[in-house]
Symmetry: C2
Subunit: 493 residues, 2 copies
């Protein structure tokens, strides 16, 4: 019920008293006083009541409105407390001077609503298109919604009240226990709940470790010559410069670690190099651990898709070779969904306290309910079941990719091992740019190998490639995406 209320007779004894038209919703949920307060506030906000304007005495307004005088006095009092109005002994109630007035005020709320959204940072937009083969995302349509909710319900029923508090900066005990068991079983990680730290995804882990390393006097982080620029940026933001280790068919060339004496740590993707798709050679696995032991350096093992290997059992984590020299970093972003923002680190004993201190200072912990749900999901076997189903799905997609290319574009080879959610297609020398233009033309979001190159590394000869995230599309969209990819290659080559 809206009532157009008009105090249509300006009071000649009170110069500056306003002729008010207020939209009053007298049946509103907060009652008459709340409606009156809202209407007055809106009138000031919108600029209809300008600064300095004197309001009708509460008694006259109450009479006009047919409400108790206290209702009006209370509304005035509230707006004085909020700073919209000011009340001075002897001069009545006026619109306060400092309210955004003349210029800004008239646009008021509408202006705020019309604010241009800031430019989106790039990485998350491409996944939204149905013909995206960007690497780095699982099939989001496969998130196990029902099973996750079941786990959430069980976790919620079992959680003692104190778990709803601020929580342990290392993450919930329940999740760290479930992860310690799972990681030992599935990835050969040697750790304990006390040495695991739950993070908001891999990136928080890398960010925390970078800050701890920098605090320990480390200035240089070795990275793979092909990798994600966001990881290099993250290290740089903590004051670490990155030097590239050449990636070849055996993974990162670890011999280069010893040629640079100032390297304090190295970030590697041993199970499945990102993006080239090769595993780190056993000799190099050994060499990097030797390097760490000799120099006191730290190895950061980014095991982003270690669960997904299709031709054999996955190679166990490098961390298992020396848990005091290698930090294992895992994530739910590929195995479940990036939206969970859950990752984990298995730390050397000597680093636990430092990492927890840095993490606690920022208090940026993942939500406890998701942590408890994941713990329940792992313990109940739901995580293993989901991984088995996804392994089968991605394996089939990779097989179809290989088969389709062999049939339609035989000049293009799929390189790397049968693993993960992406593959690199080796292109004939000098063709990467024209393939990307063709993809752009046909509306396929996909990245060239060169966009993953460390800026300090010169572009190698014959390194043309396309990084294809075959895991990214929804199941129903994969056939179309694959067909578009073949068209892109057919038309460009």
């Amino acid at each position: 019920m809206t009532d157009q209320w008009a105090n249509s007779q300006p009071d000649p004894a009170s110069p500056g008293t306003v002729d008010l038209h207020l939209d009053l919703d007298l049946g509103g949920p907060g009652g008459i006083r709340a409606s009156l307060t809202d209407a007055l506030r809106e009138a000031v906000r919108s600029g209809r009541l300008t600064p300095g304007t004197r309001l009708p005495p509460s008694r006259s307004l109450a009479t006009d409105l047919g409400v108790a005088r206290n209702t009006v006095a209370d509304a005035y009092g509230e707006l004085v407390a909020e700073g919209w109005l000011s009340a001075r002994q002897g001069s009545g109630t006026r619109v306060a001077q400092r309210v955004t007035g003349q210029d800004g005020g008239r646009r008021g709320k509408r202006a705020a609503k019309a604010v241009r959204p800031p430019a989106h940072p790039a990485p998350f937009t491409p996944f939204h298109t149905s013909t995206s083969l960007y690497a780095g995302s699982p099939d989001l349509s496969a998130f196990p919604r029902a099973a996750w909710l079941t786990a959430a319900r069980r976790a919620m029923a079992a959680a003692p009240n104190e778990l709803f508090g601020y929580g342990d900066p290392r993450g919930c005990q329940q999740l760290r226990e479930a992860l310690a068991d799972y990681l030992a079983r599935a990835r050969g990680v040697r750790t304990a709940p006390e040495r695991l730290v739950v993070c908001s995804g891999f990136t928080q882990g890398l960010s925390l470790l970078s800050r701890v390393l920098r605090g320990d006097g480390v200035r240089t982080l070795a990275v793979e010559s092909y990798g994600l620029h966001v990881h290099r940026d993250l290290a740089a933001a903590s004051g670490l410069s990155t030097v590239p280790l050449t990636v070849d068919h055996y993974g990162a060339d670890t011999a280069q670690l010893t040629t640079h004496r100032y390297i304090g740590a190295v970030l590697l993707t041993p199970a499945h190099q990102f993006p080239t798709g090769v595993p780190l050679h056993p000799d190099r696995r050994a060499a990097v651990v030797d390097w760490a032991r000799t120099t006191g350096g730290l190895v950061l093992e980014d095991d982003y898709d270690g669960e997904f290997r299709y031709d054999r059992q996955p190679v166990g984590a490098l961390q298992g070779l020396d848990p005091e020299r290698v930090v294992y970093l895992g994530t739910a972003s590929k195995s479940l969904a990036p939206a969970l923002r859950l990752g984990w680190m298995a730390l050397p004993e000597r680093l636990v306290e430092q990492v927890v201190a840095v993490k606690h200072a920022g208090e940026q912990h993942p939500g406890v309910l998701d942590q408890l749900t994941l713990a329940e999901f792992i313990s109940s076997g739901g995580y293993d079941r989901h991984l088995r189903a996804m392994r089968l799905r991605y394996r089939r997609r990779r097989d179809r990719l290989v088969a389709a290319l062999a049939e339609r574009v035989p000049s293009v080879q799929v390189s790397g091992i049968a693993a993960g959610l992406h593959a690199v297609l080796r292109l004939p020398a000098g063709t990467e740019q024209q393939v990307l233009r063709s993809a752009d033309w046909l509306g396929l979001a996909v990245q060239g190998l060169d966009s993953f190159r460390h800026p300090a590394v010169p572009r190698p000869e014959a390194a043309d490639g396309l990084v294809v995230g075959y895991g990214t599309p929804a199941e129903h969209a994969f056939t179309g995406a694959l067909d578009t990819l073949c068209q892109v290659l057919e038309s460009a080559l």
Copy 2:
């Protein structure tokens, strides 16, 4: 089915070949090869197989075990790939040299499990005791578990697949829309979804803003002379020094802002000063906005418990007076639970891009599922219902606190407005320490007013007080906690 397998006859032709006892679970989920791999890996790990030891040729081991030779060869190959074993042409397969051996290896996994947990940072432990009256926590037993799960189920059913991806660094659109409506309605905040940024609680918001301010050349943040040291520490970690504004019966003395020309921003709790419990006087609300306009400074409004006022409608947000000069910061930590790690900021238009850029660089976003659930919880009215129930609960507790003290310890006054989840008890001059000792003696976790004092402020005369978080205990524990509090005061005064 566990089979104790023994290669009990050392091969005299192969010096160094080991006499192996392996625990093989032949019926294990991964089949014989996986069991063999695990058993060998464990033997190396535990130190039973020392570096350099030569393993039996795969053919003999296969014969002894009654399995195909390939099974053994595959297991060896896998452990070579992982770096546990090394294989050299002509010298057979040996335990690799670099495996944690002689000293560390023997303790292996057991040693890792025995790791001492690091010392817990302080703030979250006290809430776990049942007789805690620490301020800063809601009643964790009141978390609306069933309603939250219902909202989660609805949110999960409605969420399009792409929401399971990396997400918008500002937070989910759904949540920002629900918050914009709610904050305008309940707190008089003038904002729009494009200007809201969802954070991991208040602390991430303060941390992001501190970094943005520091990047803009601000060096000094004014804070209230009584407040949380973690907030001052957070600002300090971003390179901001803090100067205290004296808190009196009208809140922070904003006149002091103009005496220090180098202050670039001010952090305030206008609705309910923490911990003293007074609201910021209307004149000072106006003055701080004037200061911000004149100097180009920024006001950070920490509205941690603005929804909880018992004597009248809550005073609207200061931000409403000038959304381009005041950042509004809210949190679910008091209204729902700290475990959610959800907070939000309503930003001036000019700061949105900077804050989002800093936030995105760290990629420490709250989980999307919790965000969607909160959006649904707000939109469906569940949040309002929960707040109404909690307002009633906390109001009753405050009334009982006031009544109990009036009856049993009349020398102690409850100061501050009827609001929030905590109150300050004014103590006779010089008695704070003896009251705290008495609390310690009787097992009550509670803090003195002095522990909230900014270190640069001298201890005022007659500022003895006890900060009582009456919201903290579970409902069934409140009566006992209140009785213990009265005993503490009775015995100390």
